[in-house]
Structures are given as C-alpha cells and as structure tokens.
C-alpha cells in the first residue's frame, strides 16, 4: 500500500475530521447504551407490575430467592411475569430486526411484517385452527394455533418471494404482492370470523389483538434461539446491507451479489417474523416504527442500525407490556392495542422534532 499515492496524503490525515468521526461514533454508541438503559428500566417495571399487586420487595425476593419466598409469589414471578416480560423483549427485538431488514432489502420505508401481510397470514393460520380445528401439521394439537400461524407466515413469505422472483422490479413486486396478500388474508380471517361460534370468535379476535399472556419459557426459548442464530448472520453482512441501501446498481458496483444477499436475508426475516408472531399474535406497529426510530438516531450504518432496531423494538414492546397493565389497574389489555397507543405519539414527536437531513 505504501506505493499508493493516496496513502501518502493519508499521512496528513485531518485530526479534526478524525475527531469528528469519533464523536459521531460515540454519539451512536451513547444512543445504544441509552436504549439499553431504558429497556432495563421497562423490563424491571414490567416484572414488578401486574394485577396481583405484589410489592417490589416480594418480586425481588421471588426472583432471587424463590425458595424462601411465598410459593404463590414465586409462581406469579417465574411462571407468568418473567416469561411475559422477557417475551416482550424477544418478540419486540424480533419484529424490530425483521422490519429493519425488510426495509433494507426492499428499499422501502413502509415495509414491515405487518404491511407485507406476514402477520395477516399468521392470523389466518391461527384462526383456521381456532375456528375449524384444521391443523397444517398433524398430531400437534397442543401447538395447533402457533404451528398454523408459523406455517402460514412462511407460506406467505415464500409466495411473495416466488412471485417476485425473476421480475425486473423485484422489490416493487414483493411490496405489491405483500400488500395484496394482506388484504386477501384479512378477508379470509373475516370469513372465518363470520363462520365462527361466539366462543371461537372471541378467541380469534383476542389472538388478532396480540397478547403476551400465553408466553412460556419453552416459547421464549424458541424465539430467543431463532434470534441468536440469525442476528449474527445479519451482523456479518452489515456492510453489504448498508451498501444495499444505496440501491441495487450501486451495491452491485461495489461487488455485492444483490440477489443472493436479498434471498438470504428474506428467508431469515421470514423465519424470525413467523416465529415471533405465531406465539403472540398480530402486533402491527413495532416492525414498522422501530427501524425508523433507529434510523433517526444513528443513520443507516447497519453496525448501529441493526442492534438499535432490535433494542428499540424490544423497548417499545416492553413499554407497551407495562402500559397494558397500567391502563386499567387490575386488568391486562391486549398488547397489540397498546403498542400503537404508546408508539404513535412518540413516533410523530420524533418526526416533527428531527432536523432536515439529520437522523
């Protein structure tokens, strides 16, 4: 490299520019740390609040010294509150990552698991199980609803991708087919609701609202495992994914196999989304908004954008989980409703207060 003319001038590298870059990097890291701090806080509040009116001391004792605490407190904390609070974080992170990478590979700020009809497909799969008792996977009665939701999510993803495959305007086709599927699955769910009995209808509507209350340690383990397996793959391709945001032709000119990258990421986010929504139902807002919040805070550099999308998704859902318990003390609202109540004002405030061209 020493004989390269550019590197000679690198010797006189501007100290001020380097300092400015370091400051920007530090600012992004500060954003990450700030969101982690807020997430720890909401997680803590999420665990100590609930209809059982346990005191903070009881909850802390129940977490750290379950053997010496009241068995009922121990059960509430370990069987209900901790799985729910952690599931909010895991599913929020999953939806945040899925939305971020969908927007990245499709180059469209409106892409999210909800707007592409993946959540709608999950809703149809779940409704099919609840209303008609039809399961895609035989001999899985206990997991009929989540398995149906999972399989239909994957089917919708594959349909979207296969229909767009080989088309010149691949990303536009994916988005348009996704929106068409959203309407199709919504209509099919409406049809099932029309056919359903009163009890079945209640179950379907409650599932479609989205709820963390059915969270269990095994379900949490499944969502977390999928995230742990797939997020490092996105991290490995962080620079390529950042380049993809410049557009296909630019990314190709930088030596990136755009089609291969898009397929790999699409399959991964399909799996993440399907896993997340099959256990908690339709939660529409997180996957769309978490990436936007992250983009405004740290820009498009995926080294910061990806973890912050996961963290802000987790924070949104964790805060929504707290909100769902605080709205009417003593009862728990479906979380899918609360995410929008909390997220929309926050998101609009961010849009209105951001400076032009900044993030």
């Amino acid at each position: 490299m020493d004989d390269y003319p550019i590197s000679h001038s690198a010797m006189k590298m501007s100290v001020t520019s380097r300092g400015a870059y370091d400051r920007i990097t530090k600012r992004k890291l500060t954003c990450l740390i700030g969101v982690i701090g807020a997430l720890i806080l909401t997680f803590f509040v999420d665990v100590i609040t609930g209809p059982a009116w346990l005191s903070m001391n009881e909850v802390i004792q129940g977490i750290f010294w379950p053997d010496s605490s009241d068995p009922m407190v121990s059960v509430i904390v370990w069987v209900i509150r901790l799985p729910v609070a952690l599931m909010a974080i895991a599913v929020g992170a999953a939806l945040g990552v899925a939305g971020a990478e969908m927007q990245t590979i499709l180059g469209n700020p409106l892409a999210s698991p909800y707007t592409l009809g993946i959540s709608g497909a999950a809703g149809f799969g779940a409704s099919l199980a609840m209303v008609l008792g039809v399961g895609v996977v035989p001999y899985a009665e206990e997991f009929l609803v989540p398995l149906n939701a999972f399989i239909f999510s994957l089917i919708s993803c594959m349909t979207i991708y296969l229909l767009a495959q080989g088309r010149k305007n691949q990303t536009e086709t994916i988005i348009l087919v996704g929106i068409a599927l959203l309407f199709l699955f919504n209509a099919l769910v409406a049809l099932l609701q029309y056919m359903a009995s009163e009890n079945q209808l209640q179950a379907v509507v409650f599932w479609l609202f989205g709820s963390l209350m059915k969270a269990t340690w095994p379900k949490l383990a499944i969502v977390t495992t999928v995230l742990i397996l797939l997020i490092p793959m996105f991290a490995k391709d962080a620079w390529k994914l950042t380049a993809l945001r410049l557009g296909d032709s630019k990314a190709q000119s930088l030596g990136i196999d755009v089609r291969k990258l898009r397929l790999k990421v699409f399959l991964s986010i399909s799996l993440i989304t399907a896993t997340a929504v099959c256990f908690v139902g339709t939660i529409g807002f997180v996957g769309l908004v978490a990436p936007h919040i992250s983009r405004m805070l740290v820009g498009e550099d995926q080294r910061f954008f990806l973890p912050l999308s996961a963290l802000s998704g987790a924070l949104l859902l964790s805060a929504a989980s707290v909100g769902s318990k605080m709205l009417i003390p003593g009862s728990i609202f479906p979380i899918g409703i609360i995410t929008s109540f909390i997220g929309v004002p926050f998101f609009i405030a961010l849009i209105l207060t951001r400076k032009e061209g900044h993030w």
Partner: protein
Amino acid sequence: MLAVRNLSFSYGQKSVLQDINLDCKPMLTAIIGPNATGKSTLLKCIAGLLKHRGSVTLNEVRIENGGAARQVSYLPQDNGSPIALTVLEAVLLGRHQYLSWRVGQEDLELAFGILEDLGIEELATRPLNQLSGGQQQMVSIAQSLVREPQVLLMDEPTSSLDLYRQLEIFNLIKEVTWERNIITLVALHDLNLAARYADRLVVMNKGTIYNAGEPDEILTKAMIKTVYGVQAEVYMDGDRLPVVVPKVPMSSARRKRLHDSMEKGDSERVLLDRLTLGSRYIGQSTDNELLNTEIPSKAQQSIILK
C-alpha cells in the same frame, strides 16, 4: 493485461455489443462514442455485472463469477440513493470486503486520505442526504478509489461536476493510474477531456469498436463525422493535443427565419444573430456554409456592437 475476447451482449432480443475484442494495458483509456452505443454496457460486462458471451480476463484470470472481480472497481453513472450515512462511512463501503465490525485504523486513514486528495475532507462527517449532486459524485469516486483496484472502470465520472472539479478529478485519476500502474477505463462524452487525459482512445459505434489508438490518431474530422454525425474542426493545441471544435448544427426552422430576415433587408438582425453564434462557439465565425451569408467584417461588427 486486461483482455476482452469475442464479447457479445444482448438485452433480450436487442443486441447491444457484438464481438468486442480489446486489450488494455496499465494506462488511462477513454471509451468514447455516441449515446446508446454500448459504452456503459461494455464496462458492466468487464466488471462482471452482466452475463455475456465471450471472456474477460485480467492477467489470464477470468473476472466474471468471482475470480479477479475483487481487483476490479466499477463506478456507475448512478451515485446511489442519498441515505442517512456519513460520507466517511459511504467511502468505507468501497472496502466492505476487507472490513469487519470494527473499522481498522488503516482503512480509516485510507478513506480520509482519499477524501483529502479529492479536496472533500471537510465533508467526512456530513450525511449523504445533505450533499449536492456534484458532491455525491465525488463521494462515489472516493468509494471507487478506496478499493485500491487493479482495474478501475468509470462511467462518466465527472458528469455532475464543474470545470475545475472535472480537471482536478482527471488529474487525480491519471496520477493514480500511472503511479499505481493500474488499468483505467473511462467512458466519456467530452472528447476534449478524453483527448487531454487519455493515453488511448477506444471509439465505439453501434455496439462495436470502430477504432482505437492514441488521441491524435483517433480524433479526426472524418471519425467525428462518421461516428457522431457532426461536422467539427480538430486543431492541435500548444501541448500538441487535439482540440475538437464542433460546428453548431442549425435547425431548418432557424435557417428559414434567418433567410426571411435577410429577404426583408433586416441585415442588422442577421448580423447580430451571426455574431451571437460566433461568440458561443470558438471558430464558429469561419463557418460560411451554415448561414450562406457573408460574415461581417471587423469594421461592420464594431459598428453593430456600438
């Protein structure tokens, strides 16, 4: 040595490149030719971005399907979407194959060095979506150079830049080409820029190579007339470099208006029109055929201008 052998390419049924054979040594080669003649497509084929017939090899290693592709840097005309990314991060993307999660000091210094060489180091921390079109083009050039390629392919690299920046960029490209001993191919429309900076010109016409050679051999009145359909004078400047001065093609409507004016005896208006044309293009005042009128003498011109 970059060797292109029997390269052909079609977009569906439409043949764009036919049986291209080209050898490029380490020097600055400019590809010139009219619009839609296949210059950009040829660069994309060489970069391995389009599936084509024939072969492209760098030192006898095929570029397409991996191989020597890492040693090739291609700068498209499209600067990419202006997104929320700092200029420095955008430049670093040029080295994505070598970068890990944490950017090394060497890569940072290389990126800063190129920004300094291009005179845009003050933009390092600015977001791309705050830059002008010209500034974005400079960032794209930096992205291309930071890869330290063996083959540098550039498609109209200075199309959005002012005259000063054009000269500055071509000085840098020439310097990098010679000092690094790399093969540089630049698709260009500006014949005078090509003549001034290219060591060799390749003329493309209708998907084939019309001619190739040194600028003073290639840039002739006959070539410009045949390939571009434009009448032009070619002079030698003080550095013995060819300078192309095109004759302004005039629409038949404008020609008719001038003749009508003449018939009405509106001689002053004709002469003023003639002077205006003459001032727009150097050498235009020697073109008698275009107007079929006499050029005003120096004395007449001074009277009219007064």
